[in-house]
């Protein structure tokens, strides 16, 4: 006997992501899904962003890592509510993990929720978490060939931070090629060339983030 099904396999994830999105929007929270490969500087960028905007914006953070609480400790030291999710081997966060994390955050005291995804340029791009926008970092030490090698991530994001530009003079890397290839994949992408360590170029990123806040 044959049974017709025709069901989207990611439907369960999509349904939970939509619940997260509705829950967060109703509370006036803007949610950013921040992605990159391991070591690109997500946590450093996030800590600096919190220090620079924390007086005006109430942050909340969900940290996704395969294991450990290092990143959550960095954020907690800044006095920001943070929940660490350990995926225990999983290569990405999914909407269900985020939904359980939301029950443990003081949502009434958050304007901007940043979900720091597991470091990985592949799978996180495929799972909707309920965010308003996806943003990614690419550090110059990873090389300028990455947009064309990992096109899906660059297509899915609204903002690209090219990080560690203070190191660019020491590397055979072309910022121009990164920008050109990323924009060829995604002409609407906002590209910010920054150093999360020195603070160079972060004004554009801050303006973009603040533009996403709900009044």
């Amino acid at each position: 006997m044959k049974v017709k099904v025709v069901t989207n396999i990611l439907k369960a994830n999509a349904r939970i992501a939509e619940e997260n999105r509705r829950n967060l929007r109703e509370r006036g929270i803007t949610t950013i899904n921040l992605m990159s490969s391991p070591g690109a500087g997500k946590t450093t960028l996030l800590a600096r962003t919190i220090r620079d905007l924390g007086a005006r914006v109430r942050f909340g953070v969900v940290e996704g890592d395969i294991q450990g609480t290092h990143d959550a400790e960095v954020i907690a030291a800044l006095g920001v509510p943070v929940i660490q999710i350990n995926t225990a081997g999983g290569c990405h966060l999914d909407a269900n993990m985020v939904q359980s994390a939301l029950t443990e955050l003081p949502l009434e005291a958050i304007d901007l929720l940043v979900i720091e995804n597991v470091g990985n340029l592949v799978c996180p791009a495929e799972f909707d978490l309920g965010e308003d926008a996806k943003a990614m970092l690419l550090s110059v030490t990873e090389g300028d060939d990455k947009p064309l090698k990992y096109p899906r991530m660059f297509r899915e994001c609204e903002a690209l931070l090219v990080n560690k530009i203070d190191l660019a003079p020491h590397l055979d890397v072309s910022l121009e090629k990164i920008r050109r290839d990323a924009l060829a994949l995604n002409p609407a992408l906002q590209v910010f060339e920054v150093s999360a360590r020195s603070g160079q170029g972060l004004e554009g990123w801050y303006a973009w983030l603040e533009g996403k806040l709900r009044a």
């Binding site: 006997m1 044959k2 049974v3 017709k4 099904v5 025709v6 069901t7 989207n8 396999i9 990611l10 439907k11 369960a12 994830n13 081997g89 999983g90 290569c91 990405h92 999914d94 592949v122 799978c123 495929e126 799972f127 064309l148 096109p151 899906r152 060829a184 994949l185 002409p187």
Partner: protein, 115 residues
């Protein structure tokens, strides 16, 4: 590694559909997977086989229908289909931007089994 979460979602869908149709044993599960999803059929088969014991699909075979990436080019406004797993430019004119029209599919189509 996301093939494992996809395999588990497939088994959830199959278990629900089998119960709804009164099937005690599922023999075949047919999926449609677009190449733009980045899902590897071999890795998905492996994850499915590892995860199916103890479900009505314990002896089921997975049949995967792959859908090539198709798009409409923003430069030449023509439709194309590509046999490649990654499409970076329009194969007709070389234009760098296009809208993906096929290849994002990720669905359970149907299943066959016995009551």
């Amino acid at each position: 590694m996301h093939e494992l979460s996809i395999a588990l979602s497939v088994l959830d869908i199959v278990t629900t559909a089998a119960a709804g149709a009164g099937l005690s044993r599922v023999d075949t599960v047919r999926l449609r997977i677009g190449r733009a999803t980045g899902v590897l059929p071999d890795a998905l088969r492996f994850a499915f086989d590892c995860s199916k014991p103890g479900t009505p699909a314990a002896a089921a075979a997975l049949e995967i229908e792959e859908v090539p990436i198709g798009g409409r080019c923003n430069a030449c406004d023509r439709d194309f289909t590509s046999p490649e797993p990654y499409v970076l430019a329009c194969p007709l004119c070389g234009g760098g931007t296009f809208r993906i029209t096929t290849g994002d599919e990720l669905a359970v189509l149907d299943l066959e089994g016995e009551p």
